[in-house]
């Protein structure tokens, strides 16, 4: 188990490094090829060539890409020093993701302060969609062919078919602006009460969860139907178990495995969903940082976000694999 964990963690790190390196190369090399100069972006009006040189130097853009990447990677566990004017260095403590080109604030701080928002968004939405989606799916499967089943499945298909920014806008229009039922907070911070977090995140949760729950409902239904046809379900019935026990104890647990697999994948997609959701609802999480950073070519922030996202995906997959082994005794970690 420990050996497995260590191996997987190494694999996660490798994977994240590859993702980072790719992102890094693209952002450093592509602009160069297309004749853009990152330094110019940050220089402001009327900057002389020498000044540009200075900026390039400061941002480390004058070094070879791999060297820059190495510096960046090294900074994560070890911290690194940045020139702050001629004779001064700023030490960026580990874990150091560097400083934003744009705002010159620590990327780590910016991201860690944004993380709770995205985390809360993701967590809440996950719970909602898992619970909602699975419940609807199970019910639909059990009442297969019924009016409820049809309605739920058409609803689910509609849910999958709607862009989140569309649903989001409509929801905001209705619940916040027209009915005035909810009030959204500008910037969720740790000092805000749970109530404020809840009120602000409620619509985003629903919007995001609706989209995904729809998918899970369909998946659950299909899996459930398949599982209900398995031989071991027949065995369970042949023991004299009641239908409820058959479903809860025997069918549901098997239904969970494929859902878990998809869930692992979706956690990755969630990052994309978070960008749109945060954008639509004006939440200041990782997605918000990401869009800002992309808009201003703020490479350290883009890298930071990519790192967090890739790490989240990789770790989610690891957790899913472990969960898998917990649920299914046939799966061996090793």
């Amino acid at each position: 188990m420990l050996a497995y964990l260590i191996r997987r963690i190494i694999a996660v790190i490798m994977m994240v490094l590859v993702v980072l390196l790719t992102t890094f190369s693209i952002f450093y090399l592509l602009p160069k090829w297309s004749g853009q100069d990152l330094a110019v972006v940050y220089a402001g009006k009327g900057t002389s060539p020498e000044a540009l040189e200075g900026i390039r130097n400061k941002l480390g853009l004058d070094e070879p890409v791999l060297a820059q990447f190495w510096e960046f990677v090294k900074g994560i566990p070890m911290g690194r020093d940045y020139a702050n004017g001629a004779d001064d260095v700023t030490h960026c403590d580990a874990p150091c993701l560097g400083y934003s080109f744009r705002t010159e604030t620590s990327v780590w701080d910016a991201l860690t302060s944004a993380l709770p928002v995205t985390g809360a968004l993701a967590l809440g939405a996950c719970i909602m969609w898992l619970v909602g989606g699975v419940a609807v799916g199970v019910l639909s499967a059990l009442k297969r062919g019924s009016f409820w089943d049809r309605t739920a499945m058409i609803g689910a298909l509609s849910g999958v078919s709607m862009p989140i920014f569309f649903t989001g806008m409509i929801m905001m229009g209705v619940f916040v602006h027209s009915l005035g039922l909810l009030k959204l907070d500008d910037e969720l911070t740790s000092s805000d009460s749970i109530g404020v977090w809840f009120e602000t995140l409620l619509l985003p949760w629903i919007a995001l969860a609706f989209l995904q729950a729809a998918m899970y409902a369909r998946l659950t239904r299909a899996t459930m139907l398949e599982v209900m046809g398995e031989d071991y379900i027949r065995t369970a019935r042949s023991k004299g178990l009641g239908e409820q026990a058959v479903i809860i104890r025997h069918a549901l647990r098997s239904t969970m495995t494929p859902i878990l697999t998809v869930f692992g994948l979706d956690l990755g997609v969630l990052m994309g969903g978070a960008i749109l959701t945060e954008q639509t609802f004006g939440l200041k999480g990782i997605g918000y940082e990401a869009v800002n950073a992309v808009g201003s070519k703020d490479l350290p922030v883009i890298l930071g976000v990519t790192l967090i996202a890739a790490l989240a995906i990789a770790v989610a997959n690891l957790v899913v694999d472990i969960m898998y082994a917990v649920i299914d005794p046939r799966v061996r970690l090793g």
């Binding site: 139907l225 071991y232 065995t235 369970a236 019935r237 042949s238 004299g240 005794p329």
Partner: protein, 369 residues
Amino acid sequence: MNDLNRSGAVAGEPVDTTSAPPSAFLEVRDLKVHFPTDDGLVKSVDGLSFSLEKGQTLGIVGESGSGKSVTSLGIMGLHTVGQYSKRRARISGEIWLDGQELLTAPPDKVRKLRGREMSMIFQDPLSALHPYYSIGKQIVEAYRVHHNVDKKTARKRAIELLDRVGIPQPDKRVDSYPHEFSGGMRQRAMIAMALVNNPELLIADEPTTALDVTVQAQILDLIRDLQKEFGSAVIIITHDLGVVAELADKIVVMYGGRCVERGPAEQVFTHPQHPYTWGLLGSMPRIDRDQTDRLNPVKGSPPSLINIPSGCAFHPRCPYADLPKGNVTRTVRPELELVDGSAESHFSACHLSAEQRERLWTEEIAPKL
């Protein structure tokens, strides 16, 4: 069930077809199980009757698709509960178990009988056992559905049964998962689970098909021993006449959802009355004989259950279909009739006259076997 226009009444049955509780422990009367499908109505079982006493073993043989499993599931009441398909099985007839009619009984009552009064061993133990729960847990569950005992007691019972079915170190293996067992052990565990409540009726649906001969022998031996010990009624379903010969007291030969021959095992093996039974016997190479000439199988392949051939369902494959006069084999469905001169209840559904059968058997068939 008005779509079942054939009465299915069976002449010469040992029981009359009124709904009086029978004297036999298990009595199946005119059982019909039909499945509506896109292609038409599948008449998987179409008027089957038999009875069985405690301590007896009934063997049901027949080719694939002849309705053996559907029959067993029908007895267990497993067609009706939560069939998650748009169209459910249509079942009619009567199933009497220990004086209770099961088809008209409330589902919950039947549920309570399942696992306790009657239980079942399935063909493929790997897929029939839940892969996520330990063997012990599954047996404990089966026990606790019917017995209000704590987990420890139930576990003890599980270990006891595992020991009984011959699993070594049962106290350790009780916590193993199905995939950690070999095929034979799984089947034993399956049997342990079926027996945990001392059922009166045990149905074993092809319990050994997935197993090696050596293991098959062990399992059959086990079933035989257990039956002796508990005195239950056992139905063993198989397509292997050898298995039936090993175990059964009575035999039902099924073809196309109907019973074509039924009787005491002795009789059916020594004086089979139906050409299909002859075909089955002729199909089997025998290990006990050095016989290298051609086998005498039934030609053709089993009928579609949607378009069961008219008349005698077997007539398209029957080499003697033209012997009876006229078109009778193609138009009239033969009913089960008591075999002449059979002291015991040996029945067969064939248009051939007793003399014809006797002649064919002694002159053409028996010598080649």
